[in-house]
Symmetry: C2
Subunit: 490 residues, 2 copies
């Protein structure tokens, strides 16, 4: 199966009924003529779409310029089981305190359903396979728990630095001078604990503790909540009560598609933005192959690494440029196997687990809500992603299915009817998933630029959110925030 | 100073202005005649007062029978510094998610203020004194953090069993068959970690992990939140963002006194209830030295151990009797020292800390909001309470002040202008603080009786709350719940 899923595949999914009414119906043909609008929005991921939706609702004219031939950014469906079902190959989970994505899903009449979370999770460590209660969700292992205990200090640092401006905290430089790995190295943790924390970070950021600034991690953890409920590392990890609690009926991308549907021809696909120039009180946006747009204001709602490739005139302040370039996209892939049934449930397994070895270390049951087909997937991120990417396609498949057999304890895992891979790092218009991260030294120095507008050019995208950055919810919040910013200036 | 603070002292506090308008103005003289009311409420702590307030607001006539000569239950002020200030000798802290006590404070026009939480906390372990950031609030110690990590599993068990009916969970018996200490013994924790967890539990429950059912602890932890925000052990421990975040201007008892003030002569002091008899569609309540009350319904809002001493006719079901008797009141004392100034602040100390040794292991800065006087206190609970109670008054004082010198690193701590002790275990009408707890085997078997009415007799008190049992907030919630129950039957 091709790693690059095409729009045609998505249409097949829709035609098969899994997401029947979810695709935008307007013709999105690119046009070379100059368009005028109050606001030009770059990127039709969740953040850009939500910004457009909010501004349109206020009566402003908008144009959304999207480089790809589809909307939804880091969310995407793949058709599986001969079109009878879908599997999400990008962002898919939502959970409590992710208020804005949940409100959006409701607004566009899309339902959520709980991730399968019954029976036992599997904990593989030190060559042994053990079980722990899925509803408890924390391996009953002293070494791992010691590691989680150290993360409580990260929670507390996050609480202290806050989500609004962590770079302003009196100890910001101190926290930002070290990696999460350096912090953890002071905690006398066992090799197993460190391996499990690596696996957890690889799934959360597509990066390892050695790559992550402690300040960045602390604020990211603080962001895993809302104004009433402080964030915690456990909420990032957890299924029940956490960031993996719920899924979206029909696939998360359906929400984006429904928003896009209402925006109709205001969205222009296959129109990669090359240049954004502010002059004479307007912003002129030049695309490659698409129209030129002249607008009163612009919102850039693409991953920072892509924003950094746009030519701005006048140029971005060097601090902002540094920040955008330094926000490294995660290295994350989702590997998925489709089976006739979710057979692991027969032996009382939830499908979830964590392992200190293997390529696929953080698996989930990704079956459709009715369980009519079994879908099992794992994240492969950070160092593991590098190992995985260096293998041949056959070896990748063999190694991953080996891991699935170890988790499920069932040889049936070796012979799926379909096997899917989605490597977001090779996507030109994403460059990595799930989120950009900072190594030490960036956030404390350049953080003030994160949400800062550049003249009439504003910035959205999940990376600019206060809460739930890195998640669909953060994308929605950032889009709403940017729309609010722009609206107040129009 | 006497351990038994009298109403006269409180009046002095009021007269000095610290809580000037807070005392009930109605005459509460006990009367021997028979009174009639829609609802008779036993106990004028927060729970009983709130139940009375809610029912009175619905137009029902109420009589509140209180054994003591004061209202407020487990909250109480002591006048200090020649009447210039007060120190709370009972429950005093409130924090986020304690929505009902915060709403009540607001409703009666009482303000909160943040607990002093700046600079460094002190961590004393293995004979060393170290510092950690007060706003972070978690000792930067791998051994302690490993212990806190184990408590994350308790959080998760709490989340799984929930607050509504933990006894119904499929693993309730399994969790209720072990003590917290037995659970912790499987976690390979160091002696220091276990000592710190002992100190934490002694402050939270006035009991040690060896005395506490894991199921009880798990649901208590789950209760440290609200319907939107799941509870956590860290929220029980924390100052910023946790259960010790805020204090009440004028002292927590002022809230109770203001509620009582409005209830006026509906409260009858010095009227200990001896018997509650249901007959002929009414409830007759007999007091020792006070009136007999005939009511349509009754609410018992006293600690379970005291409820168990009331003679009920017809008798309580044996399961309920067992439950009430088994809910052991905590052994907790607050020892407080008053100084001219909060001198520890001069050297950048918050006043807070934790120690693996000594009698006073969990101290706080308890100074009035303006810092005009320095007040330092520590909890002494569980085993430590037993050690403390066995000493002479002079030895108690010397040992505690020794600990205060160790925490503050300042010899001035040895010579306070006043030294206060409040031992709630010796209070006839409380029998222990802050809350009743269960050893293994009770909650899973008899939990359904916790909030169960007995005919026309309903039960309130913080121990019967779903959220924040053991706290003033739980008392308010329980009072409101009982009032709602009764109102729906009248």
């Amino acid at each position: 199966m091709s790693q690059r899923l095409t729009r045609r595949r998505l249409i097949q999914v829709g035609a098969a009924g899994a997401a029947a009414s979810a695709l935008p119906t307007a013709a999105f043909a690119a046009s070379k003529k100059t368009k005028k609008a109050d606001v030009a929005i770059v990127g039709a991921g969740f953040s850009g779409l939500v910004a457009a939706r909010a501004l349109a609702a206020k009566g402003h004219s908008v144009v959304v310029l999207e480089a790809r031939d589809r909307v939804g950014g880091r969310t995407q469906n793949a058709s599986i089981a001969g079109g009878k079902a879908i599997a999400e190959v990008g962002g898919e989970f939502v959970g409590p305190t992710q208020d804005r994505i949940l409100a959006l899903a409701k607004a566009v009449d899309v339902d959520t359903f709980p991730v399968y979370n019954k029976g036992n999770n599997v904990f593989i460590a030190r060559g042994q396979r053990a079980f722990y209660d899925a509803t408890v969700g924390i391996p009953n292992d002293p070494e791992v728990q010691a590691g989680l205990g150290a993360l409580l200090e990260v929670d507390a640092i996050g609480k202290a630095v806050g989500v609004a401006a962590p770079w302003k905290h009196s100890k910001a430089k101190q926290y930002d001078a070290q990696t999460l790995a350096q912090f953890l190295a002071t905690k006398n943790l066992s090799a197993t604990a460190l391996a499990v924390l690596d696996a957890v970070c690889e799934a959360i950021w597509g990066a390892d503790p050695t790559e992550l600034s402690l300040l960045y991690v602390a604020q990211y953890v603080a962001a895993a909540g809302n104004a009433k409920t402080p964030g915690s590392f456990v909420r990032l990890i957890a299924t029940g009560g956490g960031a993996q609690e719920q899924r979206i009926v029909g696939g998360s991308v359906v929400i984006a598609e429904k928003v896009a549907d209402k925006l109709g021809s205001r969205i222009i696909l296959k129109a990669p933005v090359e240049k954004i120039r502010e002059h004479d009180g307007v912003v002129t946006i030049t695309t490659r192959g698409g129209p030129t747009v002249v607008a009163k204001r612009a919102i850039v709602a693409v991953p920072p690494v892509l924003a950094a490739r746009i030519a701005f005139a006048p140029g971005l302040p060097s601090s902002k440029k540094t920040l955008l370039k330094a926000m490294t996209p995660g290295s994350l892939t989702k590997v998925e196997a489709v089976y006739d049934t979710p057979f692991w449930r027969e032996t009382g397994l939830s499908g979830q687990g964590v392992s200190d070895t293997g390529l696929a270390r953080v698996p989930y049951d990704n079956s459709p809500p009715d369980g009519s087909v079994g879908v099992y997937f794992s994240f492969i991120g950070g160092k593991r992603h590098g190992e995985w990417a260096a293998l041949s396609a056959a070896d990748r498949r063999a190694r991953v299915l080996d891991d699935f057999v170890r988790f499920t304890g069932d040889e049936r895992a070796r012979t799926p009817s379909e096997y899917l891979e989605k490597d977001w790092t090779t996507e030109t218009w994403t460059r990595g998933c799930p989120v950009g991260h900072f190594a030490p030294g960036v956030l404390s120095k350049h953080g003030a630029q994160l949400r800062a507008a550049h003249g009439r050019i504003h910035f959205a995208g999940t990376e600019t959110s206060d809460y739930w950055l890195g998640y669909m919810d953060g994308a929605v919040r950032a889009g709403e925030r940017a729309a609010h910013e722009v609206h107040s200036k129009l």
